[in-house]
């Protein structure tokens, strides 16, 4: 009886074991672990990412796959929490068929997975990992971040604001309570204070990520009457915030900056004059995007399949997958057409420059990516039922980044008011 149980357990576990694949022969399929939010409040941001992944991968497979090998995505829902995400990462990394991870959406998970990527030696493309804390030690070999970094993302807002409204005095901030929210608050505040030292921060609120109700926070913000309200809330949090704040006059009493506002343009009624951006250059209606036939096709296919236009998380995911495809091409060129190993892929990503759907991404020596930043304001459009971005500016990727190895916040405090004048003006990107 005991022996039988032992044998049964043995058989079960042998069945679960996976067979390793020799690195050089072409595998039957290429596994990509793709980490995003597919449930909960964050899914409003995460599902556009998954949709774009489906679209791009279907497109790749229709054209024969990568190097003739079909791509199989394995989606991991980040909503299960850090513990589950880490367990899934380990499980996927244990199978040699999965060569690259595209992870993650939440900066918390990015920070949790980065050390794991180094330990398990799995090339990981942080499709949405813009927290500047991620690659700060400069020693990463396997963690890459082609879609840009919170430093230029949020300095861009400070510069655009000062260009548009040079006389503001008081600022209030409402960001989600985790690394991304605190980073943005620090960067935005530091940049503003460096370039206009008499600015006062009158309120800093950090509601918990996933909070459904912001009524008290909105009362606090409107009572303080700031000139500017800055927020990098996102997902359902942002939708709730806009729905709750709009009737209560927040958008009329203050200049509001919604750093991730483009994601909700099609979903909630945003008034005109709100400063929004795409944390990078992934705006599907930008002049560069409209001029790129591949991008136009992507947008049309996305709209037809999913019923709405791709928001910037979709573009980020699409660009990340293009980056992965480019890595395979480079790696196979370098090793004479053989199927690349994980290490060869990491090598290929280092220092690469890849043309994306909306611009170019350049990977620096510390694996950080340089992308341009697009910022604008909401304007009504005759062609769409929802507001679009107008009065745009496009800042070059390297103009807002500190040098490799420099402490970002220290660099920001060295900026001077004249810095604003060296950059393009709002409305210059047409």
């Amino acid at each position: 009886m005991r022996l039988k149980t032992c044998l049964a357990v043995l058989a079960l576990t042998v069945g679960l074991a996976s067979s390793p694949v020799a690195a050089q022969e072409r595998p039957s399929s290429l596994g990509l672990g793709i980490f995003t939010f597919t449930s909960g409040p964050a899914a409003a941001y995460g599902m556009p990412g998954k949709n774009a992944a489906d679209l791009i991968i279907d497109d790749i497979n229709a054209k024969g796959g990568i190097g003739g090998v079909p791509v199989t995505p394995i989606y991991v829902d980040e909503a299960q929490g850090a513990q589950g995400v880490i367990a899934e990462y380990r499980r996927l990394a244990g199978d040699a068929k999965n060569q690259i991870m595209v992870a993650a959406l939440s900066s918390a998970n990015c920070l949790a997975l980065a050390p794991l990527a180094e330990q398990l030696q799995v090339p990981t493309v942080g499709w949405n990992c813009d927290t500047h804390q991620l690659l700060i030690d400069g020693k990463s070999k396997y963690m890459f971040r082609p879609n840009g970094n919170t430093i230029p993302e949020f300095i861009a807002y400070a510069i655009y604001l000062l260009d548009r409204k040079p006389d503001i005095k008081t600022v209030a901030i409402i960001d989600p309570d985790y690394a991304f929210g605190h980073d943005a608050a620090n960067i935005f505040t530091a940049a503003l204070k460096a370039m206009k030292p008499d600015i006062q921060i009158v309120a800093e609120l950090f509601p918990k990520l996933g909070s459904p109700n912001f009524q008290t926070e909105i009362s606090r913000l409107t009572a303080a009457r700031p000139d500017v309200v800055f927020s990098n809330l996102w997902g359902a949090d942002l939708e709730n915030f806009v729905r709750q704040a709009s009737p209560r006059g927040l958008f009329t009493s203050s200049q509001v900056i919604l750093a991730l506002g483009e994601t909700v343009l099609q979903r909630v009624p945003l008034p005109e004059g709100v400063i929004v951006g795409v944390l990078g250059d992934g705006w599907w209606m930008s002049p560069d995007a409209k001029a790129n036939s591949e991008t136009v096709k992507f947008v049309q296919t996305y709209k037809a399949r999913f019923g709405e236009y791709p928001v910037f998380p979709s573009i980020k995911m699409a660009n990340a997958l293009i980056y992965v495809k480019a890595a395979y091409k480079t790696a196979m060129q370098k090793n004479g057409g053989k199927w690349p190993t994980r290490d060869e892929l990491a090598e290929a990503m280092k220092g690469s420059t890849v043309a994306t759907l909306t611009g170019t991404t350049q990977t620096r020596a510390d694996n950080d990516g340089l992308v341009d930043q697009i910022v604008g304001v909401t304007v009504k459009s005759p062609d769409q039922v929802f507001p679009v971005i107008g009065d745009m500016v496009r800042y070059k990727g390297d103009s807002l980044m500190p040098q490799t190895g420099q402490d970002p916040i220290a660099w920001i405090s060295t900026l001077k008011p004249e810095f604003v004048k060296t950059l393009p003006k709002p409305g210059s990107y047409k």
């Binding site: 449930s39 899914a43 950090f206 996933g210 009524q215 008290t216 009362s219 009572a223 209560r248």
Partner: protein, 299 residues
């Protein structure tokens, strides 16, 4: 400073109203059935989901938006009618006479089941339908614009407190409930159908929970995880007020609402800690809650 006093008070009342609706059902069920229903939060979120679904349906068919108000009430009635008697007869009744540990575990199992049921039926995205909020407009008080809907909820909370008190003291049903709470066996021996009372009381608790979720939905939406978050808040309020005390729950809601709002206004980094810190402080001074006692036999 003075220009923040009125907003502070109003925000506290608005917060307290939402919190009260979340907690009153839990404490009511405990007072009559002596059962701490860990699945209470799930019934709250089911109420919110049903209200959102009906609201979205009304919007998609372009029916009169005023129907959405009726939708809120109907959701609560529907959830209570569906789940109240069902849960009471199958699970809760089995736990009478057994230790509290068993009750807690059974209702925790129910909580797990309901959480997954919600995901399966309503999906994993967040839902939001704010027609009632938009219809009622806004008012400016103390320099801050408030939603009239928030003020309505404050009024409704007061009505519920008074209504429950009147139910218990001035109706026949109320007296029956008081008798059953005071001495179950005695009530049975004089011919009161205690089974019926239990079903009614539990269903009333479910109704209040679902109503809370439905009323909160136009201002807060509903997303997975709402049940678990609400449960612990309801717990805190019931504990502060004294388990089983309706007026206690009202006072406790005011305390928790005020604590949260004070935190957001003055010490934003502690806004999530405030309810639990308040609970800990109250329980250190009065271990069984403000209005509670060891026997906790009064309703």
């Amino acid at each position: 400073m003075s220009n923040t006093v009125i907003p502070l008070l109003l925000d506290s009342l608005a917060s307290a109203a939402l919190i009260f609706f979340a907690a009153v059902g839990l404490t009511l069920v405990f007072s009559v059935l002596r059962v701490l229903n860990v699945a209470h939060g799930s019934l709250y979120s089911i109420g919110a989901y049903v209200a959102a679904s009906i609201g979205l349906f009304i919007a998609s068919r372009q029916l009169s938006p005023y129907l959405s108000f009726a939708a809120l009430l109907c959701s609560a009635v529907f959830v209570a009618a569906l789940f109240g008697p069902l849960i009471e007869r199958t699970l809760i009744r089995w736990t009478y006479g057994k230790s509290e540990a068993v009750q807690i575990l059974i209702t925790f199992g129910l909580f797990l089941i309901l959480e997954d049921l919600q995901r399966m039926i309503f999906g994993v995205q967040s839902l939001y339908e704010d027609a009632p909020v938009r219809l009622l407009g806004t008012s400016q008080i103390g320099g801050v614009v408030y939603l009239n809907y928030q003020l309505l909820l404050i009024g409704l909370a007061v009505i519920v407190v008074i209504g429950l008190r009147m139910l218990v003291r001035h109706t026949r049903l109320g007296r029956l409930i008081t008798a059953v709470v005071a001495d179950r066996e005695m009530a049975q021996s004089i011919g009161i159908d205690t089974n019926r009372i239990f079903i009614l009381a539990f269903s009333l608790g479910v109704f209040l929970a679902a109503l809370g979720g439905a009323l909160a939905m136009p201002t807060s939406g509903v997303a997975p995880g709402l049940g678990a978050d609400t449960m612990v808040l309801a717990f805190a309020v019931a504990a502060i007020g004294g388990l089983g005390q309706i007026e206690g729950a009202a006072v406790a809601s005011l305390i928790v609402g005020l604590a949260r709002v004070l935190a957001i206004y003055y010490v934003p980094s502690l806004d999530a800690v405030a309810p639990y810190a308040a609970m800990l402080i109250v329980l250190l001074i009065r271990p069984y809650g403000l209005f509670g006692s060891v026997s906790a036999r009064k309703i």
